[in-house]
């Protein structure tokens, strides 16, 4: 939709340009998807020209401005990447514009790039107003429904996915009220070559929860881990009742454990 209060676009934008009333602009699909009467300037990051995917020795760096379509195209050989792309409520046409970073920054429980980044031990690279970088684990980037660790004037520059987890075997389960509807539960299990396993719970909960096991866990150990999420930690909205989300989390966790145990 038209953002009528916007009077200027800074393109490309640079660190330090942010002031109150500004919004960082990635693809724009989230920003233009809701009324934003407090936004007066758009700081365009997509025009910065960051290479969408950079392969390094220790993994891949996904620019915040990498579109979902580019991600699916470049890294879709990893099943979990493609599964998370398909978890979007939004269509493939939105993939052509929406960015990985934008999905993280919107911080919706159902954001599948949050699920992916958290499940693969990703690290978020943030750039502050002075140009300085800080790094936070992707699992801790989102703090609640719509909230992140980003400070005023700070933007998400990239997500680094280490090569080990990216190449690891994963198991994926998703629940929704509708076949291709918004995720109500999105669980990812990861079996590492060293015998460890992690279980990432997203969509069902207000923020990601990652449980790590040094060796393949028993059913009871998984149950016990999930018990640490209080019922108040489950999302309560039109996309599913909290008790159902909690049940599906346990249900799918059992199946993921079983799948990865084989």
């Amino acid at each position: 939709m038209d953002l009528h209060t916007v009077t200027e676009v800074i393109s490309p934008a640079r660190p330090g340009q942010w002031r109150p009333g500004d919004a960082w602009l990635g693809g724009g699909t989230a920003l233009l998807g809701e009324p934003r009467p407090h936004v007066t300037r758009l700081l365009d990051l997509a025009a910065a020209g960051w290479p969408p995917i950079t392969v390094r020795d220790d993994g891949v760096e996904i620019a915040a401005t990498c579109t979902i379509a580019e991600l699916a195209d470049r890294l879709g050989r990893h099943p979990i990447v493609l599964q998370c792309c398909h978890a979007f409520l939004a269509s493939f046409k939105i993939w052509n514009v929406a960015t990985v970073g934008g999905n993280l920054c919107a911080a919706l429980p159902a954001g599948p790039m949050i699920s992916l980044s958290a499940a693969l031990d990703g690290t978020c690279v943030l750039v502050g107003p002075d140009g300085g970088e800080r790094r936070v684990p992707a699992a801790g980037f989102v703090t609640g429904e719509g909230t992140t660790v980003l400070r005023d004037g700070e933007f998400l520059r990239a997500i680094h996915l280490p090569s080990g987890p990216l190449g690891a075997r994963t198991a994926y389960r998703r629940g929704s009220l509708h076949r291709h509807g918004r995720s109500a539960v999105l669980l990812i299990g990861r079996a590492d070559p060293d015998g460890g396993m992690s279980l990432t719970v997203t969509a069902a909960t207000r923020r990601p929860h990652v449980f790590r096991f040094l060796s393949p866990p028993s059913a009871a150990e998984v149950e016990a881990a999930l018990e640490t999420i209080p019922i108040s930690g489950y999302v309560d909205d039109v996309h599913g009742r909290p008790v159902w989300r909690q049940h599906l989390t346990r249900h799918h966790a059992r199946r993921i454990r079983a799948e990865l145990a084989v």
Binding site: H4, V9, L25, L42, A46, K93, N96
Partner: protein, 887 residues
């Protein structure tokens, strides 16, 4: 930097916060539609450098230096793009508002994506078709039908507007460029009930571009109802254009008119309003209790409100026979209470209108409406203008479903035009559709019924509570209608109905496909299903024993217009189809619970108390015919049928019939395109006009009216038609007497007890529409109705919180059925010919909706072993119910 649109460079720089959709429309690409404005519906799909995007969430500035293709640029020099052609061939549209986006998306699909349409088309919402026609189009439709002279009726002729729809050139309400246009935005109430003490407009008026601010002090001191009926007394006069008291969160408080939407919005933000907050009632069950806050305590019987001092708009307390005796005679008695939620029509074109003064200073309003003539009457009365000083027109309307049988915008647009003397546009946002349009009436229905072991229903008792929200538009009529055909379809000697429609301080409800029948049917058909179980009888046989048959009176408690009768009967054939459906088999995943269920519905072909239509057919000098008819076209397909009637009655071909419609200037009167009357009332008027003209043509050749064989597409008795043109014939129909149409629906479902997921394994619908005027189109109407009802049954609910605030305000929060959510429905037509309807046809636009929810409820009951009484049946609720019923 320029933006290339369809091969032509455009130099104008977009505004900084503008989305590409708005820019493209400003540059004249009206085929790019504004549906949701939030990236959800896909109606705005265009290609940027060959890549499909949703242009409503694509920043316009980013298109600079790029090449954009819209629906207008898709066709090549040699004609339609193959996807446009296949949408035309398969008639993959109804209202057509989503079609440009569907076509642009389909044109960009890879083979892999075509193989998985549920996923590939999840970003394209269609509210009309139920998607079967669309997936047929994507997969390549069969060529369009070109009926020969006199063979149009009964053929699957395509919609006359099809070529415009698939090329993006069909003109909807806002698809026109009006120089000097002003934009209107409203401030909406944050309180469920409040008195406006003051409105400080000074800061708003100081915003550059703001031309006027309108408050209740500017509004005419006249009451009206937003509901539009031929008989105005059907609805209480409880509404003002702008009122001093606001009665729901979202009600208009003041309007700002400005040279741009941006300035109007800024003006709205700068209005300062002082409110005296008043006590509010949100829960309809509390509204009638003594001491409840009164929503319209200042009004009463004079305004058409039955008991304003108890928040009762209308009520029905009536009976036939003796229900207590009936229950005493029963071998089984079952009683349950059912609840249906608010549902949004979700027409992809929002409410809105553009108004201006024409060269004669006449007020012209172009509106997204189902009722141009009634809206003209209402506007005339409100502003003290004679009817010839007001013209109301509708372009092609982007979906209605009853939501546009309502004057929600035209009054305020008229006021703004009259105040400023300039053209004014007001277009609802998608969120305003949810918070400030109307919804389906939420019902609470208790049904108690008894039957003997031989299957005879001995008594039926209904207790119904209807929540009309803050205004009474349609509230009483929906209640009366809902309590009529639902029980009149059964021969039962003892029926008792106690029903109330009550005010609450919530978003008003309004007309919605089925007009109350769907809600009450949901309850009645489930209670009867349970009774059949109790006496050990299959549900089809149970219906066969009890349903009305030819020659029966249609009776229900209360006073009813006596013009309704069974002028054709195909319910027996419908039930045969349902019985046959049950003999099929389907496989379900291991561990899933499988169940079957059915339900029936009857609907009157037209409303009681008058529904009028005028039509004129004129023979043109070139041998073509021009049909003038009042009804609006919003995908209902009436226009197609009207053309078919003209073609056959005048022995010509459909391509030689021009249509002028939905304009108060073209005919004397038309009540409107609602109550399933497009074929049976307007169509009858068209038929009469044709026959009047035909007699004049034959007379001109000195032939009698029965010598039809003398007439061909070019000549009459050897005399060229051109030599006797122009000639006109007029027809009128007053909508009485009325027949009834029947529908039956059957489902087989499977439920995953671990997750609550429900899958429809098979869906069968049988319909008695009398003569099938256009099989493809009728099938489409039925599929669309079934799909819309599946949405209301399995997904949709407009939520209102304890304060009265609507909390579901976008399509991301309000899940409309997508391709993935709608199963294919087998559609069967009964073979009947109606004695009343034109050429034997009956209504079939609302009614396919009505048996769907109870059939699903009954199937779910069969699968689970217990009954769910509250809609919708979402997976979380089903799973919760399974937990609650565990021993």
């Amino acid at each position: 930097m320029t933006i290339e649109i369809n091969g032509t460079p455009h130099d104008r720089t977009p505004l900084p916060g503008q989305c590409l959709r708005t820019y493209l429309r400003e540059e004249g690409c009206f085929g790019v539609k504004k549906g949701c404005d939030a990236g959800d519906c896909g109606a705005c799909t265009v290609h940027v450098d060959g890549t499909p995007v949703h242009s409503c969430v694509y920043p316009a500035f980013r298109a600079q230096g790029r090449s954009v293709t819209t629906i207008e640029g898709l066709a090549g020099p040699s004609g339609l793009h193959p996807v446009q052609q296949s949408f035309l061939d398969a008639q993959g549209f109804q209202c057509g508002f989503c079609t440009a986006g569907m076509i642009m998306t389909t044109a960009a699909l890879t083979d892999d994506q075509r193989a998985d349409l549920p996923r590939s088309l999840k970003g394209n919402l269609c509210r009309c078709t139920g998607y079967r026609a669309i997936t047929d189009a994507v997969n390549g439709g069969s060529p369009a039908v070109c009926p020969a002279e006199g063979a149009a009726v009964g053929s699957s002729l395509g919609a006359p507007a099809g070529p415009q729809v698939v090329t993006g050139t069909a003109r909807y309400t806002f698809d026109l460029d009006v120089p000097g246009l002003l934009h209107l935005k409203v401030l909406r109430s944050p309180h469920a009930h409040a008195r406006i003490l003051s409105v400080d407009t000074s800061a708003a008026l100081a915003v550059p571009g703001v031309e006027a601010v309108l408050t209740h002090k500017d509004a005419p001191d006249r009451l009206f109802s937003t509901a539009q009926h031929e008989n105005e007394a059907e609805d209480p006069y409880d509404t003002r254009v702008l009122d001093e008291v606001v009665r729901f969160i979202g009600q208009r408080v003041a309007a700002v008119v400005a040279t741009s939407e941006a300035a109007a919005e800024e003006g709205v933000r700068r209005l300062r309003v002082e409110y005296e907050v008043l006590p509010a009632v949100i829960d309809p069950a509390l509204a009638m209790l003594p001491g409840a806050p009164l929503v319209h305590g200042d009004k009463g019987i004079a305004e058409g409100i039955v008991r304003a001092n108890a928040n009762v708009v209308g009520e029905l307390h009536a009976g036939i026979g003796d229900v207590e005796a009936g229950f005493a005679a029963a071998d089984a008695v079952y009683e349950a209470t059912f609840r249906t939620p608010r549902v949004q029509h979700a027409a992809l074109e929002t409410h809105g209108a553009v108004g201006w003064l024409d060269d004669d200073d006449r007020l012209v309003i172009r509106s997204s409406t189902q009722t141009p003539f009634l809206t003209r009457r209402a506007v005339s009365r409100l502003f003290g203008l004679s009817r010839d000083r007001v013209r109301v027109v509708a372009g092609r309307v982007g979906g209605g479903f009853g939501g546009k049988q309502e004057m929600l915008v035209e009054d305020l647009v008229a006021m703004a035009v009259l105040r400023t003397g300039r053209p004014v546009k007001w277009e609802y946002t998608r969120s305003e559709q949810f918070t400030a349009a109307t919804t389906r009436h939420p019902f609470v229905i208790t049904v108690k019924a008894g039957a003997r072991v031989d299957g005879l229903i001995t008594a039926l008792q209904l207790t119904v509570l209807v929540n009309t929200g803050a205004y009474g538009n349609h509230g009483a009529s929906v209640m009366h209608h809902g309590c009529h055909e639902t029980v009149a379809v059964y021969r039962c000697a003892n029926i008792r109905t106690d029903a109330h429609t009550v005010y609450t301080n919530t978003v008003p409800a309004g007309a919605f496909r089925g007009y109350g029948l769907g809600q009450v049917t949901f309850a009645v058909e489930q209670v009867l299903d349970e009774l059949a179980r109790m006496i050990g009888m299959d549900p089809v046989t149970f219906r066969e024993i009890n349903v009305v048959r030819p020659g029966d009176d249609l009776t229900a408690p209360g006073a009813h217009v006596p013009d309704l009768g069974i002028a054709s009967y195909g319910l027996d054939q419908c039930l045969d189809r349902i019985r046959a459906a049950s003999s099929t088999t389907d496989t379900a995943p291991d561990g899933w619970l499988v169940g079957e269920g059915m339900a029936i519905a009857m609907i009157a072909a037209g409303p009681p108390g008058g529904h009028f239509a005028d039509a004129t057919v004129t023979l043109l000098p070139d041998g073509r015919y021009e049909l003038a008819v009042g009804t609006a076209e919003f995908g209902n397909g009436s226009t197609t049928v009207h053309v078919q009637i003209v073609a056959d009655e005048l022995r010509t071909t459909p391509d030689r019939v021009l249509v002028r419609q939905s304009d108060t200037d073209v005919v004397g009167h038309d009540t409107g395109a609602f109550a399933s009357t497009g074929v049976v009332v307007a169509g009858e008027a068209v038929l009469r006009a044709c026959r009047a003209l035909r007699a004049r043509i034959l007379a001109a050749a000195e032939r009698g009216p029965s010598e039809i064989r003398c007439l061909t597409a070019d000549s009459v008795a050897g005399i060229s038609l051109a030599t006797i043109a122009p000639l006109s014939g007029s027809g009128h129909f007053d909508g009485t007497p009325r027949s009834v149409a029947f529908n039956a629906q059957w489902f087989r479902v499977a439920v995953d007890p671990d997750t609550g997921e429900l899958r429809i394994l098979r869906s069968v619908h049988s319909a008695d529409a009398g003569t099938v005027m256009n099989p493809l189109q009728l099938r489409g109407q039925i599929e669309g109705g079934v799909a819309q009802a599946i949405g209301a049954t399995l997904a949709e609910h407009v939520d209102v919180d304890e304060a009265g605030q609507v909390t579901t305000t976008t399509f991301r929060q309000y899940h409309l059925p997508t391709v993935a959510d709608v199963p294919e429905t087998e559609v069967h037509f009964a073979r009947t010919t109606d004695a009343i309807g034109p050429l034997g046809a009956k209504s079939m636009s609302e009614s396919p909706y009505n048996p769907v929810s109870p059939a699903l409820g009954n199937a779910l009951r069969d699968a689970l072993g217990f009954r769910l009484t509250d809609l919708p049946y979402t997976a979380d609720r089903i799973w919760q119910a399974i937990q609650d019923h565990r021993p």
